[in-house]
């Protein structure tokens, strides 16, 4: 066991088990206010703890912590590298923002199953943290199950026929996905006798047998079903649109990304030998098709939340682009994109939630004139949209820049064109939504000037604004974060 400085183990333990214990407390003692304070303080503490962790990862490269003190092939390792770190930061930031929003939202809507929401959130949070740091295939399977079983009830939390049918479909997709994933794990174990990712990556990558490739493909299909990658995305838009605002923010920003994160983690880490460049190109094509299809669908929607949900489907396509492009710059670009997209999508959904609270429905046509009612909120939504579209002042642009540079450096210019197209289409559907909001059919002097009809309480307004600001701030810190993201990047062609 490599000698780790004293703070890593407690941090990782805190990240995984503290939310778990909080979940247990939430079940035992359903006091709303106390639980909200607990979740906000947990979020703050995890942010504080992440700073030294990042320092250590930066210093000593990818960290390896064997749980229970057992040497590798036997015990389950926790593996933290640039990618995992970025995801942990994203979970902590989005989690904190959503927790604050949820505390305000649950109270203002006086939701009957408020307590359930908090339990689900805590367990989801611990599941996500565990998933991002887990270094063992079967352990990843279990954490994936936790994420799914926490996400489906979150969707079902929003009462009504649409929510239930979406939750049902989501559950079945996830069920089949997890079984395929388990098949993949079984085949890998049978073929290699190994479960730990560091061990799998460390193998001298001689030509992998057919078993390993089929295992990888089974895992990929499983993850595709869970992460709603293009052909298997059917459930995501209706689920994320039907869910309540804080839930859909968590789903789109974190849960969808978790499965996609695993695709990259497995393809570029342990199973590098299992695929050839031709296969990688095909994965890239699937990603691009996802981007185009998601954007086209988003342009077609008549209601606000489906637009944002389809945008998630589209943005997930970008993650697949890392497979054909697997260089350090591409690695940084895609992770940065995942980070910015997570924050921006959460901000977008929360702002949309405020809009729906403000005007009672989310039909796009009905948004007209709400720019006068919730201008700050709309601004946050617009900025988040701009970040998703990857336009300059925001972090999205830095990510797009990196990805296109990577594509051009390796001569695969068609990915660059696809990324550009993706950005344009994203801009189109973002500005379509904003122009609906700005549209004021009746001449302005008939509508009285007022900032918000009934004051949007502070807890609801500031999370989207701060998350959008974070997405913009990421635009400035490219240089700062680049070395962090490069830790553990695959040493494929630079």
């Amino acid at each position: 066991m490599t000698e780790l400085d004293s703070l890593v183990a407690p941090t990782l333990t805190f990240l995984i088990f503290a939310p778990l214990l909080a979940g247990v407390v939430a079940l035992l003692w359903p006091r709303g206010l106390v639980l909200d304070l607990l979740s906000i303080s947990l979020g703050a503490i995890s942010l504080v703890l992440l700073v030294p962790l990042s320092g250590t990862v930066m210093g000593q490269g990818p960290l390896l912590l064997e749980l229970g003190g057992h040497e590798l092939p036997l015990g389950i390792p926790l593996y933290v590298d640039g990618l995992a770190l970025a995801m942990l930061w994203l979970t902590a930031l989005t989690g904190l923002g959503t927790a604050v929003y949820a505390s305000g939202w649950l109270r203002s809507v006086s939701h009957p199953s408020g307590q359930q929401y908090r339990v689900l959130w805590f367990l989801l949070w611990s599941g996500l943290n565990a998933l991002f740091v887990s270094g063992d295939l079967f352990n990843i399977y279990v954490t994936l199950e936790i994420t799914t079983l926490a996400a489906v009830p979150l969707v079902a939390l929003a009462r009504g026929r649409e929510a239930l049918s979406a939750a049902m479909q989501y559950l079945y997709f996830a069920l089949v996905g997890s079984i395929l994933f388990l098949l993949g794990v079984a085949l890998v174990y049978a073929e290699t006798g190994l479960l730990a990712l560091p061990e799998l990556s460390a193998r001298e990558s001689e030509a992998a047998g057919p078993g390993e490739t089929i295992a990888l493909l089974a895992i990929t299909v499983g993850l595709a079903m869970k992460a709603a990658l293009f052909p298997a995305h059917g459930w995501l838009p209706r689920a994320h649109a039907a869910a309540s605002p804080p839930a859909s923010a968590l789903l789109s920003a974190l849960v969808a990304k978790a499965a996609a994160y695993l695709v990259i983690r497995l393809w570029l880490g342990p199973f590098e030998a299992a695929w050839t460049p031709a296969v990688a190109q095909l994965m890239g094509v699937v990603g691009v098709l996802g981007i185009l299809y998601g954007s086209l669908q988003a342009l077609r929607q008549h209601r606000l939340k489906p637009v944002i949900a389809y945008s998630t489907v589209a943005q997930l396509g970008y993650l697949l682009l890392l497979i054909p492009l697997a260089s350090v710059v591409a690695w940084q670009g895609v992770i940065y994109h995942a980070l910015v997209h997570g924050l921006a999508k959460a901000a977008f959904f929360l702002a949309a939630g405020n809009l729906i609270l403000g005007i009672g429905h989310d039909r796009l046509v009905g948004l007209a004139g709400c720019d006068r009612v919730l201008s700050k909120n709309l601004l946050a939504m617009a900025v988040a949209g701009v970040a998703i579209a990857g336009l300059p002042p925001t972090g999205g642009f830095i990510a797009k820049w990196w990805m296109i540079t990577a594509a051009l450096e390796q001569g695969q210019w068609w990915w660059a064109v696809a990324i550009g197209m993706g950005g344009l289409l994203a801009a189109l559907y973002v500005f379509r939504v904003v122009s609906f909001a700005v549209h004021s059919p009746r001449p302005w002097h008939e509508e009285p000037l007022r900032e918000t009809r009934h004051g949007l309480n502070r807890l609801l307004l500031w999370p989207p604004v701060l998350l959008a600001a974070a997405a913009v701030a990421l635009g400035m810190t490219g240089e700062l974060l680049a070395p962090f993201l490069a830790v553990g990047a695959p040493e494929v062609s630079p």
């Binding site: 229970g68 936790i146 078993g211």
Partner: protein, 329 residues
């Protein structure tokens, strides 16, 4: 070949054919109840297979959980499908599933044959993990290798697995909060003649077996899951007999029972930092006692959760005697 091998392989062939036929019937059968029964028998046959393949723990678990609890839940579903059929609802027929039959059959057949060939062709040459696991299991303070893996080497899997179980329950509660469905097994006005006496006889037996299984888990096949499942089955019997009345007030005892397993295990994981650099590592001395304590907590949680999942209510209340019917809830 010696006769016993011949017999054994004959039995295996029969077993496999039975499994395949049962699975086919469960899926392509017409009636829902018929499919459910086929599936339960398939579960039992599976338990036999596990035993045959030399993993008794699994056989017990499969029998108790796979066939028992799942079967009960499925029967619940059948009862619900029949009793809550609304007038306008069409009979449970199947709509085309987007993929025509003529395409699905060859596709899944090809997948199956491919997989079968692949599974058969993978060389069974073990690997670093199996050797390390087998070697470490011998010297481990727990004799039962599976329990040692479950509670020590891969402790986090078990912990998170408990979280999954808990989540299932919380998910069910979310649905309960939205819409209170009528109880599937209303408390019978006049108690069934045979049930109380059967119950009186069964309770001690089940309790004893469960506790034994829990105790044996550390050094012989058995363990928290199997014991929990058995106690869960007991709970189901009590509910069917009307001794447990489902209520919707949040019972603290229920909550405690559900969360004790996960809570204790997580607490252990955090506290383990005191005596070891990495979480979830057992202390030198007193590890055995600790494992037992955790196993006991797990058993309780599993039992309580399974019962509540079956009943489908927020919590249960034990009624003293059966002669005067409980208040209609």
């Amino acid at each position: 070949m010696p006769v016993s091998d011949l017999l054994a392989s004959g039995f295996d062939v029969l077993l496999c054919i039975g499994l395949l036929w049962l699975a086919w019937q469960a899926i392509t059968g017409t009636g829902l109840f018929r499919s459910v029964v086929m599936f339960m028998v398939f579960g039992l046959m599976m338990a036999v297979t596990w035993a045959r393949l030399g993993s008794p723990d699994l056989a017990l678990a499969e029998a108790a959980i796979g066939a028992g609890i799942t079967g009960a839940l499925l029967l619940n579903a059948c009862r619900a499908a029949v009793s809550e059929m609304r007038s306008d609802e069409q009979p449970l027929r199947d709509r085309p599933s987007g993929v025509p039959k003529w395409l699905a059959l060859p596709l899944s057949l090809a997948a199956g044959v491919g997989l079968a060939w692949l599974m058969h062709s993978i060389p069974r040459d073990g690997g670093p993990t199996p050797e390390a696991a087998i070697k470490a299991a011998e010297t481990h303070f727990l004799d039962n290798p599976i329990t040692s893996v479950l509670l020590d080497f891969r402790a986090i899997d078990t912990l998170l697995e408990m979280a999954v179980l808990l989540l299932a329950l919380v998910g069910a509660r979310v649905l309960l909060d939205q819409r209170r469905l009528p109880a599937l097994y209303p408390v019978p006005d006049h108690p069934m003649p045979m049930l109380p006496s059967l119950l009186a006889m069964i309770t001690p037996v089940l309790l004893l077996t469960g506790l034994y299984l829990f105790w044996a888990g550390s050094h012989a096949p058995g363990g928290a899951f199997q014991a929990g499942a058995l106690l869960g089955a007991l709970g189901v019997m009590y509910q069917l007999a009307g001794r447990f009345t489902p209520t919707h007030e949040p019972g603290t005892v229920n909550a405690l029972l559900i969360t004790v397993g996960l809570g204790l295990f997580s607490l252990f994981a955090c506290l383990s930092l005191l005596w070891a650099p990495a979480p979830l590592s057992h202390p030198e001395q007193g590890a055995y006692a600790l494992v037992l304590l955790i196993e006991f907590a797990l058993m309780l949680s599993i039992a309580a959760t399974l019962v509540l999942l079956f009943v489908g209510s927020r919590s249960l209340q034990l009624r003293r005697s059966t002669n005067h019917p409980g208040g209609r809830q």
